[in-house]
């Protein structure tokens, strides 16, 4: 699903590369954590998978597409095969829950009949049935993140990228969100989640990829957040 070969990324404003000779493979259907301190390169990693940025060196292949060789006009089609979830939810405050989810389909030209069918289905999946007409500010943090996950998943992506999705949530709510992501993973969607939450990583015992100063320092198939931390 994801293949990185000797990928480096440098910025003009920094003397140290954000990613330094990173090579990695993530198989289809895997659930992986990307951990590491702030500035270790996690966000750069995710942004490159989205083709928001291109590597300075090396090759990135996502779902069979070589992102380095991808024409700019093909980027939107690539992003349709991905879903993204963020720490700050990024919901549209002037739209209701179902409108927020429908928005992701509207803007890629899905027919209205499809939207009418799949939006309630995905709301049901994330446990927000009956809250379709609420505004985001009427929901709790956990519920808002569920809406964001529903929006990311509604297009049935091959890969779900989550950047600290529990960063703004209390431990109980975080646990619920992780159950939801696991459930999505069981449908066959590959999940890659950047996190600082050691409790979650330790309790899930999934693959852990640890970055430090732009390098992979650890890659364990059933890892914990960090020995001795």
């Amino acid at each position: 699903m994801i293949h990185l070969s000797h990928v480096s990324k440098s910025y003009k404003t920094s003397t140290r590369p954000a990613l330094d000779d990173v090579s990695l493979d993530v198989e289809k259907g895997e659930f992986s954590f990307l951990i590491g301190p702030s500035g270790s390169g996690k966000s750069t990693f995710l942004r490159m998978l989205l083709r928001e940025e291109s590597p300075s060196k090396g090759e990135i292949v996502v779902a069979g597409h070589n992102l380095g060789k991808m024409r700019r006009s093909k980027v939107p089609a690539h992003r349709r095969s991905l879903g993204c979830v963020f720490q700050d939810f990024r919901l549209l405050q002037n739209k209701t829950v179902d409108q927020n989810i429908a928005f992701a389909l509207e803007v890629i030209g899905r027919p209205r009949s499809v939207i009418k069918k799949v939006v309630p289905e995905v709301l049901d999946l994330v446990g927000l049935e009956g809250k379709a007409n609420r505004m985001p500010h009427e929901l709790s943090g956990g519920e808002q993140q569920r809406v964001a996950i529903a929006r990311a998943f509604v297009n049935r992506p091959l890969l779900l990228l989550a950047d600290e999705p529990t960063g703004n949530l209390d431990p109980d709510t975080s646990g619920d969100i992780m159950l939801l992501l696991e459930r999505i993973n069981r449908t066959g969607t590959t999940v890659l989640m950047a996190t600082h939450d050691n409790n979650i990583v330790d309790s899930m015992r999934r693959r852990v990829i640890e970055l430090q100063l732009g390098k992979i320092v650890r890659d364990e198939s059933r890892g914990v957040y960090g020995v001795g931390r």
């Binding site: 939107p76 690539h78 095969s81 990024r90 549209l92 509207e106 803007v107 890629i108 297009n155």
Partner: protein, 300 residues
């Protein structure tokens, strides 16, 4: 992509930046109004040329005494002058117009204006020779040859008068078009500003659109349509303004000259002809400004 959905986004966008939208619409409207005025002056100049065209003559006015003494140009002084003019190799056409004939022509020309008819009598007008030259530029030759002749009052070159009129009209056209261009530059920058503000206000939306894989075209379309709609409203204001200028200024102040055919009237049909040009110019100005801004300044 559903049109209704896009247009609801456009309406929301225009409402959200209402003060900037109004400023941009007014500036575009003034720019297009000036452009329209320039186009109407071009049309007026062409029409004036068409009205006078080959009718432009040199007029040798006889003195008032001569006009009265020999009303039909039968005496030697006048008939001799006429024969000489007919024989002149520079002159292609010449005929004599008596005071009475001049008065008849005057009455016909100002038939719609009783006030103009009241102030004139046949005596107040002079008899004249109407002359056409093979080469209209050689007006000076006629002045030299006949200016000092007995019985001749004055010599008038209609072409010279028209030339002065065209210089004034062309000057007005150039001034309005220069002002239109300056205003268009201001409108261009305001549209750019409007698009930047709109894009900033909706950055979460555009970011989500980018991340879920909306095409660049789809992401930009609401901004482009917003700008074009504002440009078209500006054009509509410009056309309305021109119509008001025609009705309340031109028709009131120059109506008499229009009706008598001395100056070509600005008709509603002229405005109807100019309206789509202004609409097109407004839409293109707005679209180009928005497109360039989106390409250069807005990450989509």
């Amino acid at each position: 992509m559903r049109a209704g959905y896009v247009f609801s986004e456009v309406a929301t966008g225009l409402r959200r930046n209402v003060t900037m939208t109004i400023a941009m619409i007014l500036t575009t409207g003034i720019s297009l109004g000036l452009l329209g005025l320039g186009l109407l002056i071009v049309k007026m100049t062409d029409d004036t040329k068409a009205i006078y065209g080959d009718k432009v003559e040199i007029l040798i006015y006889l003195t008032a005494d001569q006009s009265k003494e020999d009303p039909n140009c039968l005496q030697p002084l006048c008939s001799g002058l006429l024969t000489e003019l007919q024989a002149n190799p520079e002159i292609s056409e010449v005929y004599f117009e008596s005071q009475e004939q001049a008065y008849e022509r005057y009455k016909k020309q100002f038939a719609n204006q009783p006030a103009m008819l009241e102030i004139a009598t046949a005596d107040a007008l002079q008899a004249s020779f109407h002359i056409k030259l093979y080469d209209p530029q050689r007006f000076e030759v006629i002045t030299q040859q006949y200016g000092d002749r007995q019985g001749v009052g004055s010599i008038q070159d209609q072409a010279a008068f028209l030339e002065r009129l065209f210089v004034v009209l062309n000057g007005m056209r150039n001034a309005t078009i220069i002002l239109a261009v300056i205003q268009a530059a201001a409108a261009f920058l305001l549209i750019s500003n409007m698009v930047q503000i709109a894009a900033y206000t909706r950055r979460t939306e555009t970011e989500i659109m980018r991340l879920v894989g909306a095409s660049r075209w789809r992401t930009q379309l609401p901004f482009l349509i917003e700008a074009v709609v504002a440009g078209l409203i500006g054009a509509a204001i410009a056309v309305g303004g021109l119509f008001a200028v025609k009705t309340f200024v031109l028709d009131r102040t120059l109506g008499a000259l229009f009706r008598s055919g001395i100056l070509p009237a600005v008709s509603t049909a002229d405005l109807v002809t100019v309206a789509p040009i202004l609409g097109g110019a407004g839409a293109v100005l707005a679209a180009v400004s928005a497109y360039v801004t989106l390409r250069l300044y807005v990450r989509i």
